[in-house]
C-alpha cells in the first residue's frame, strides 16, 4: 500500500514533467525534440492518471493510462513518418521553417 501522503508529490511530479514537456514543445525547434517533449507531456498525464487511480481505488486511471500509451505509440508512428518524409524532401528539420500553410 502506497503512502497516501505521497499523492501530492506524485501530482506535483506529473505537473512538473508536463510543464517541462510543454515548455520543450514551445521552445525547441527540432521536430524530434518536440516529439520527445510531447511524449514527456503524455507520460506526465499518465503518471497523474495512475496516481489518481491508485488513490481513489479505481481501475479507470490505469485503463486510461494504457489507452494513452497506445495512442502515443500510434502518434509516434505517424509523427516519425512525417519527419522522415520532410527530411527526404531535403528540408531542414526546423518547425519554424514549416510554415507554408499560413498562406
Amino acid at each position: 500500500m502506497l503512502n497516501p501522503n505521497l499523492f501530492p508529490y506524485l501530482l506535483g511530479l506529473a505537473a512538473f514533467l508536463f510543464t517541462v514537456g510543454a515548455m520543450g514543445v514551445l521552445i525547441r525547434r527540432n521536430p524530434i525534440v518536440v516529439f520527445m517533449c510531447i511524449e514527456l507531456m503524455l507520460n506526465a498525464a499518465n503518471l497523474a492518471l495512475v496516481a489518481y487511480g491508485r488513490f481513489l481505488n479505481s481501475e479507470e486511471g490505469q485503463i486510461f493510462a494504457f489507452m494513452v500509451i497506445v495512442v502515443a505509440a500510434a502518434e509516434v508512428v505517424v509523427g516519425l513518418a512525417l519527419i522522415t518524409q520532410i527530411f527526404r524532401l531535403g528540408r531542414e528539420l526546423d518547425v519554424d521553417d514549416l510554415s507554408e500553410m499560413k498562406e
Binding site: V25, L26, I27, V95, D96, L98, S99, M101, K102
Partner: protein, 649 residues
C-alpha cells in the same frame, strides 16, 4: 325589404361597374372601340337600373323599416363579444339610395357623353376602365356600413381620381396635377384613419350602426367627440376641396372633361358632404366642430366665388364654382340642415355635370381652346349647347324656378341657426353674398362664352358637336330645369317629397345648431336669397353683356388688392410652396449633401473600416509557426483550467 333582396341589389349594383372595369381594361384594347363603348356604358346603365330598384325598395318600405344593413361576409374577426369584427357590411337607406341615384344616373349620362368625347383618343379602353372603376369605388364608399369599408372606398376614389387626372400621362402638367390631388387627398385619408382609430378605441367597433348606437362613449360636447368630428371634417375637406386643402381641384381640370364632370363636380368631391351627413350623429354631439365646419364651408364658398370671377380658363371657372357650391353644402351640413345640404348635392350634381359637359362641347368644337377671352358669340353657332349651358347657369345662379333655386334658398337657413352672438347672422349674410357672387361668375362665363362676337377667326366656323355628346347634355339641361319641381319647395308646409324621403335617416338626432324654420322666416329668407341671385345675374348682365360699365373700368376702381388676390387665387399655391414645399426641398437638399455623405455613409463606412482594421490586426496572429499556435493553445488551456477550477466552481 328583406335581407336577401338587399344583398342581391348591393352585389349587383357594385358588380356591374366592376365587371365593366375588368372587361374594358383586359379585353378592351383587343376587342376595339365599339366593344368598349358598349361595355363601358351598359355596365353603368345596369347599375342605374339596379339603383332604381333600390330606390323603389326604400321608398316602398314601411315607415321605420327603410334602412337595412346587410353583411355579405365576415372579413376580419378578432375574438368575439366586444372585440373588433369587420364584415363586408353595406347599408341601404334613403341617404345611400339618393347617392346611388346621383352616381349611377349622372354617371351614366357622363359615360354616354364620354363615348363622343373620347372618340379620337387612343386610350379609350383605359379611360372607360378607370371610369367604371371609379363608379365602383364611389358606390362602395356610399354603401359602406363599416368605417373600414368606407375608408377603402374613400381611398379608391382618390386612386381613380389620380388615374383619371393623369390620364394623359405624357403631359407633365397632368401628371403633376394628379400627384397634387392624390397627396392632398391622402392628408384627408390620414385624418380619417386617425378618427377611425379614436372611434374604435372608445366604441370597440367600426360598424357604423354600432358606432351610432354607442354614442354613450362620446360625452356630448366633449373634447373626444369634437376631436373625432374635426378629424372627420378634415377628411371631408380634403375630398371636397375645402379650405385649406382646396388647391388640388382647379389643377385637377387637367384631366379629360368627362372626368371633371363626373369626379370633380358631381360625385367624388361631394363625398365630404356625404361623410358629414352620414356621421351626423357624432356631429350633433360636437357643436364646436359643427360651427367650424360651417365657417370653413362658407369661407370656402366666398373665396372660391371671388376667385371664379377672374379666372380665364373655362374649366377652372367651373371648378371654382364647384368649390364654392360644395362650400355651401358643407355649410349646410355644418349647421345641421342635412337634407337641405344633400338636396343641393343632388341638384348640383345635375347642373354642374351639365355645365362641365357643355363646356366640354365648347372646348371640343374650338379644338381644345379653353381660354374664355378667345371665345364668344357661340349662341347662334352651337344652339343646343348654348341652351343647355344657359339652363345650367340659371340653375347654378339660383334663378327663380330652376333647380338650383329650390336647393340653394333652402340651405342658407335664414333665422333657423342658433350660435354664439351674431355668428349665424354673419354667416347668413355671407351666404347671401355668395348668392350674388354665384350669379356674377356664372353669367360672366355665360355671356363671355356664348354672347357677343367671336374673338378668333376660328370662332366663326364653329359647328355643333355630335349626337353622343349632345344628347346627354340636353337631357341634363332639361333635368336642370325640372328635376326639383316634383321634389321640394323651399317653404315649410308645402311640397317636401325629398326631405320627407331623407329625413328618417336624420331623425332621432337633432343638431343643436339648427331648428326647422317657421313659414314667415322661410319666406323672408326665400325672398332675400332670390333677390340676391337676381342681383348677381343682373350685375353680370350689365358688366359682361351690355358693358355698361365696362368690367375693366370697375376693376380699376376697386382696391388693387382684390383683383390681384382673385386672379392669383389668394396666393395659396405660392404660400404652400414657400411654407411647405421649399422648406421640405431645403431639408432634402441638406440631407443629400450633409446627412447622407457624412452621417449615413460615415457610420456605414466607419463600421467597415473598423472591421477591416480589426481583421488586419487579427491576421497577424496567423503566423504559420507551429510553436506560436501551440503557445496560444497552451495559454488558453491554462486559462480555461484556471477559470474552470478556481472561478467557475
Amino acid at each position: 325589404m328583406s335581407v336577401s333582396t338587399a344583398s342581391t341589389l348591393v352585389i349587383l349594383v357594385m358588380l356591374f361597374p366592376l365587371i365593366g372595369a375588368a372587361l374594358n381594361g383586359l379585353l378592351g384594347p383587343v376587342l376595339g372601340r365599339r366593344f368598349v363603348n358598349i361595355a363601358g356604358t351598359v355596365s353603368i346603365l345596369a347599375a342605374f337600373v339596379v339603383s332604381c330598384f333600390v330606390l323603389a325598395q326604400v321608398v316602398g318600405a314601411p315607415a321605420g323599416h327603410a334602412s337595412i344593413t346587410i353583411r355579405l361576409w365576415d372579413w376580419i374577426s378578432l375574438g368575439s363579444g366586444t372585440n373588433l369584427s369587420v364584415g363586408m357590411d353595406f347599408t341601404l337607406d334613403a341617404l345611400s339610395a339618393l347617392m346611388l341615384m346621383v352616381i349611377t344616373g349622372v354617371g351614366f349620362l357622363i359615360h354616354v357623353y364620354s363615348v363622343g368625347y373620347m372618340d379620337h383618343d387612343p386610350g379609350f379602353a383605359r379611360f372607360f376602365s378607370y371610369m367604371n372603376f371609379f363608379i365602383f369605388s364611389m358606390l362602395a364608399l356610399v354603401l359602406a356600413a363599416d368605417l373600414l369599408i368606407l375608408i377603402i372606398g374613400w381611398a379608391l376614389v382618390a386612386l381613380s381620381s389620380y388615374l383619371l387626372i393623369g390620364f394623359w400621362y405624357d403631359r407633365p402638367s397632368a401628371v403633376l396635377a394628379a400627384r397634387k390631388a392624390f397627396i392632398m387627398q391622402v392628408i384627408g385619408d390620414v385624418a380619417l384613419v386617425i378618427a377611425a382609430f379614436l372611434i374604435v378605441l372608445h366604441t370597440h367597433t367600426l360598424s357604423l350602426p354600432n358606432i351610432f348606437a354607442r354614442t354613450a362613449a362620446f360625452p356630448a360636447g366633449g373634447l373626444l367627440v369634437t376631436g373625432v368630428c374635426v378629424l372627420l371634417a378634415i377628411g371631408a375637406f380634403a375630398k371636397s376641396a375645402q379650405f385649406p386643402l382646396h388647391t388640388w381641384l382647379p389643377d385637377a381640370m387637367e384631366g379629360p372633361t368627362p372626368v371633371s364632370a363626373l369626379i370633380h363636380a358631381a360625385t367624388m368631391v361631394t363625398a365630404g358632404v356625404y361623410l358629414i351627413a352620414r356621421f351626423h350623429v357624432l356631429f350633433n354631439l360636437a357643436p364646436v366642430a359643427e360651427g367650424m365646419v360651417a365657417c370653413v364651408g362658407m369661407g370656402t364658398a366666398v373665396m372660391a366665388g371671388i376667385i371664379a370671377l377672374s379666372q380665364i380658363d373655362i374649366k377652372r371657372v367651373i371648378a371654382y364654382s364647384t368649390m364654392s357650391q360644395i362650400g355651401l353644402m358643407i355649410y349646410a351640413v355644418g349647421i345641421g340642415a342635412y337634407s337641405a345640404g344633400m338636396f343641393h348635392l343632388a341638384m348640383h350634381a345635375v347642373f354642374k355635370a351639365l355645365l362641365f359637359m357643355a363646356a366640354g362641347n365648347v372646348i371640343h368644337s374650338l379644338n381644345d381652346e379653353q381660354d374664355i377671352r378667345l371665345m364668344g358669340g357661340l349662341h347662334s353657332r352651337m344652339k343646343w349647347t348654348h341652351l343647355a349651358f344657359g339652363a345650367g347657369s340659371l340653375a347654378l345662379a339660383g334663378f327663380f324656378l330652376f333647380s338650383g333655386w329650390f336647393s340653394k334658398e333652402d340651405l342658407l337657413g335664414f333665422g333657423t341657426v342658433s350660435g354664439p352672438g351674431a355668428a349665424p347672422w354673419i354667416l347668413y349674410a355671407v351666404g347671401v353674398g355668395v348668392n350674388v357672387l354665384t350669379g356674377l361668375y356664372a353669367f360672366r362665363l355665360y355671356f363671355t362664352v356664348f354672347q357677343g362676337e367671336p374673338q378668333t377667326a376660328r370662332g366663326f366656323g364653329v359647328k355643333e358637336v355630335g349626337k353622343a355628346m349632345l344628347i346627354p347634355v340636353v337631357i341634363l339641361g332639361v333635368l336642370a330645369v325640372v328635376v326639383a319641381w316634383p321634389l321640394q319647395f323651399p317653404l315649410p308646409n308645402t311640397l317636401h317629397v325629398f326631405s320627407d324621403f331623407l329625413n328618417p335617416v336624420f331623425a332621432g338626432a337633432q343638431s343643436p345648431l339648427f331648428h326647422d324654420p317657421a313659414f314667415g322666416l322661410a319666406l323672408i329668407g326665400l325672398v332675400i336669397g332670390t333677390a340676391a341671385s337676381l342681383l348677381g345675374i343682373g350685375l353680370a348682365m350689365r358688366l359682361w353683356y351690355e358693358h355698361r360699365p365696362d368690367p375693366a373700368l370697375v376693376v380699376s376702381r376697386l382696391p388693387r388688392a382684390i383683383p390681384l388676390l382673385s386672379y392669383n387665387k389668394f396666393y395659396f399655391d405660392e404660400i404652400y410652396d414657400r411654407a411647405l414645399v421649399q422648406p421640405l426641398k431645403a431639408v432634402a437638399r441638406t440631407a443629400r449633401k450633409v446627412v447622407e455623405p457624412d452621417v449615413m455613409d460615415g457610420w456605414v463606412e466607419g463600421l467597415g473600416d473598423l472591421m477591416r482594421g480589426f481583421s488586419l490586426d487579427l491576421r497577424t496572429v496567423q503566423t504559420g509557426l507551429i510553436r506560436d499556435y501551440a503557445s496560444i493553445f497552451t495559454v488558453f488551456a491554462v486559462l480555461f483550467v484556471v477559470v474552470w477550477v478556481f472561478i467557475a466552481r
